[in-house]
Every structure is written in structure tokens, then in C-alpha cells.
Symmetry: C2
Subunit: 143 residues, 2 copies
Amino acid sequence: MKQQNLAALPTLAALKDKGFRLTKIRRLIVGAFFSDTTVPVSAAELQLQLLASGTKANKTTVYRELEFLSAQGVIVEINAGDGRKRYELKRYGHHHHVLCLRCNTVECVAVENCALEEQLSGLKDFKVTGHTLNFFGLCAECR
Amino acid sequence: MKQQNLAALPTLAALKDKGFRLTKIRRLIVGAFFSDTTVPVSAAELQLQLLASGTKANKTTVYRELEFLSAQGVIVEINAGDGRKRYELKRYGHHHHVLCLRCNTVECVAVENCALEEQLSGLKDFKVTGHTLNFFGLCAECR
DNA sequence: ATAGGTGCAAATGATTTGCGCCCGG
DNA sequence: CCGGGCGCAAATCATTTGCACCTAT
């Protein structure tokens, strides 16, 4: 059972190189992000995933690990606008999100010809460093 | 002092026509949205504005009024991604927001050639009804 | 008078923090 | 061994809800 999530290994090795420990929970969480690369997860969902795979992790620990992995640039925070934050693996392909207004699930999408930051106007002295773009609607099941 | 916020009067009249009461707090809140049309406000900020203009309003009342005005289509909810919701007057000119990462202020901006929803790809059966686009960066004071 | 509004206090829900114990290197 | 990690409980913060009182119409 140790051979799963090979994709996570370089990231784990990098963390270790930086002097951080590779605890069981950390391995599992990083592994989870690498095994499900399509849907951003919330802290609670991640805690449930761990539980489902047989590991009880404290809520606080999950929050702290998400904060840690964000700080390390492994994952990024997604804010869907419903109360909870979600996280996904940081990947350099730029993309955006689609949210179902009924069931609150989040999907990733691409936008063609995305050069939004160059198209801003009316900005007085504002240094833009990034953006988020969320689409809202109804997913296949909720329509 | 009764002649201020003339711009709010049609909206107030419309609410009255629908059978809702024009209480002092309601008039003041609608008036506040019409008098400062540039910056989305949070519930707490709005409560402070009322206080500053001499009216004590309960936090709960402010939240309920914001919910009410949203439901009536007078204002719209903006989610900046920091914990708090903000609201601004609903206007039909489509625009987006710029957030300062340091002081969390929000400004409104226009994006040229904005046809985002037509540019989505890879969406399986998702019915898109709207979007939010937030830019992040540093405002003039925080740079 | 009467339904819509308001205020206060308590509940909720997500996230954070303090602190002592534990374990990976 | 020892500092980073972990769990538990309590604290925060924004927002919501229950309930009794108030007031615009």
C-alpha cells in the first residue's frame, strides 16, 4: 500500500529538503491532492477523505496542514463565496472555477483568450498581482 | 435634512408600492447605498456609517436589511474572499472588483471586451448563469 | 390593530489559537 | 533528544435564528 500516489513523492521530498517532517497525515494530505486533481476540497471534506481511508485527523490539524501547504506553495486557496474555503493543487496552467448554486460543488474550467489583467481600465495606482474568476450556475445533476 | 439622497427616492417608493414599510433604518440604508456608489460595504461598515450619522442600528437589523434589499434586487452581494460579504447598489453596467491584499478595501473596475461566459470550454452540462471576477493587488496607499 | 421591523441574546459554522503531549529525524 | 506536529478545548469572527416588543400604515 505504500506505492500509491507516486506523483506526490517529488513534492514530499521537496518539503523534506526544506526541513519539514513527513508525518503520516502530511503524506496522506499531499497524496490526496495528487490523487484527485479535478475538484477543490474544503477542510471538512479533506478530513472526511482521510477518515474514509482509515486515518483520524483532528480538524485543527487539517486546517494547519492546509495553511502550511498553501504557505509552501503546494496548494492554493479557492474561495467559492459560500462560507468555506477550498484548496486545490497549485498548477501552473491557469484556469478558473464553476460553482453549482444548488449543491455548491466546484469544477475547474479553462477560459480561452484569457488576458484579463491587461484589459483593466480606470485603475488609479493599483498594482494588480492576480485574479480569481468564478462562474455560477447549475451542474448537470442540479439542473 | 430631509432633502438628501434624492436618488434613493424611486427605490424607496418602489419598495413601498410592494407593501414594505419605509422605516428610518431602511431609508438610511438605501440612502447610504445611493450616496456612496463607488465602494461595496460590509454589514459592519454599514452599521458604523449609520452610527456615524447618528442612528444606532442593531447588527442583526443591518444583516436582515441587507438580506432584504438583496432579495428585492436593490443591492447585490460581493464576495471578496476575505471572510466578510460586501454589498453594493445593483446597477446594470457590468463591472468587477479589485481588492487590496493588505487593507482589504474593494474598488470597482471595468474590463474591456468582457465576454467571459462565451469563452468557457470543457463544461459538461453546466448551465452558467453568472460570474464574479476579482482582481487582487495593492492599492495606492498600501503599495 | 396588525403584520412587518427591531433589538437582544443565544446559536451556528467555519476557522484560529493556546497549550501540553507526542513522534520523526 | 528536541523542535516540528498533533489533539483537545476554548476563543474568534461573521452571520443566523428565536422570541418578545415596537411601529409604520
